[in-house]
Symmetry: C2
Subunit: 218 residues, 2 copies
DNA sequence: CGCTAATCTAGAACAAGTTTCAGACTGGGT
DNA sequence: ACCCAGTCTGAAACTTGTTCTAGATTAGCG
């Protein structure tokens, strides 16, 4: 068990995005720097050899912190990699906002956006491997962090769907299914069981669901 | 690295379903029995505490074989659990064949079938956890075994869709997406991020894709 | 400045997956 | 019955994630 409920005096873990979406606790400058160094070292190691290449001792050394400190910032390897995914997703979200998809059809826009994200993963397949494997391997002790990633992904897809107001429940269901497909297709690709073309087809197929829920635009 | 290409004299591993779908190599009776005992011990341990409770030393002891022997039959914990999943899926497939879903609509039949499978998982959530986590965590060295599981799942879904002849490419795409959703939804449920009701909705949502590819039956 | 609590470091220790090895055992062919 | 190759066993060793401990450092505060 990941013993968390410490004594009331224990301030709290300095790193993990504490609440469901809070800006984390007050970190000193040095602490923020440490956290950044850790995430960067993680991404670098992951880019080289994927999940297995991210070894806690190596991350600690590369980031210039003690092993115990690394564990204070990220209570497990999975936490660490999920945090890395958050980090990367945020970056991606920023990039996507700048040049949003142009197609008139919402479904096509979503597919286009996901394919763009997919191409980003193809550029760093090992990193993708590490992050995605961690994400799907995560157990309950990481659920809040995984949830954050999920919300980020949802936001990206909704962004792509269009500037419409609050999405309908059906649309949200469709988005959930798209996310499922996205993760799972990614995994089959990463484990060499599906080609890039196959992933594209799957994404385009699932995106048709959006058309089912979009009142045929006038 | 998982060093596999042994000397040409090395006959082969006795247990792993060798080829893509072969009936495995000639096993002596004692060997088949050993394999069965291992899989049963695995399922039992998994049913208790999920992925973490399946400890290789304990499996070996419970099955009455040496640790080295266990590794000869299943080259890793993930291989072992994926094989367990194959085993369970085969059982499920048999059960489903006996009482096929009755609904007139193919999409509804598929949804019904998957919900039935889902209920089976709810009966043994820990076992489900162990198997599904192994499945999605599997790397390339397990891809052929994972592929077998995937083919089994596809067969189950196609069975539910109906006795029609060879499915169209579009239908196959839809089935792929349904599988993706099935796995991913299962994971979100197992890690406590989605309710049972949510999983049902996701399954029903994705099954609508079938209607898109089914020529409105006369 | 000097104090105190919290944090960080270095390193040992522990847990579970995986590998390795020497010796006993089995099955099949002569 | 004897022999050989291939299996199985028991136990130790090795790897990497995780935990623990004692002592050095740092941050905030009077």
């Amino acid at each position: 068990m990941t013993t968390e409920p410490k004594s009331p005096t224990a301030r709290a873990v300095p790193a993990g995005p504490a609440g469901p979406a809070g800006p984390a606790l007050p970190l000193t400058e040095r602490q923020a720097a440490r956290r950044r160094r850790i995430l960067q070292a993680t991404a670098e190691l992951a880019s080289r050899g994927g999940f297995d290449a991210v070894q806690m001792r190596e991350v600690a050394e590369a980031a210039g912190v003690a092993l115990g400190t690394l564990y204070r910032y990220f209570p497990s390897k999975v936490h660490l990699l999920v945090a890395t995914m958050q980090d990367q997703l945020q970056r991606l979200h920023g990039t996507l906002r700048k040049r949003p998809p142009t197609d008139a059809d919402p479904a096509a826009r979503v597919a286009q956006t996901l394919m763009r994200a997919f191409r980003a993963m193809q550029r760093e397949p090992h990193l993708a491997d590490a992050m995605v494997r961690a994400l799907t391997f995560a157990d309950r002790s990481v659920s809040s962090e995984v949830d954050t990633v999920s919300r980020l992904t949802t936001a990206i897809i909704l962004d792509a769907m269009g500037p419409a107001g609050p999405p309908s429940p059906e649309q949200l269901s469709a988005v959930r299914v798209i996310e499922h497909t996205w993760h799972s297709a990614l995994i089959t690709w990463l484990s060499g069981r599906a080609s890039i073309a196959q992933v594209r087809i799957d994404i385009e197929t699932v995106c048709r669901l959006i058309r089912l829920t979009t009142p045929q635009q006038a």
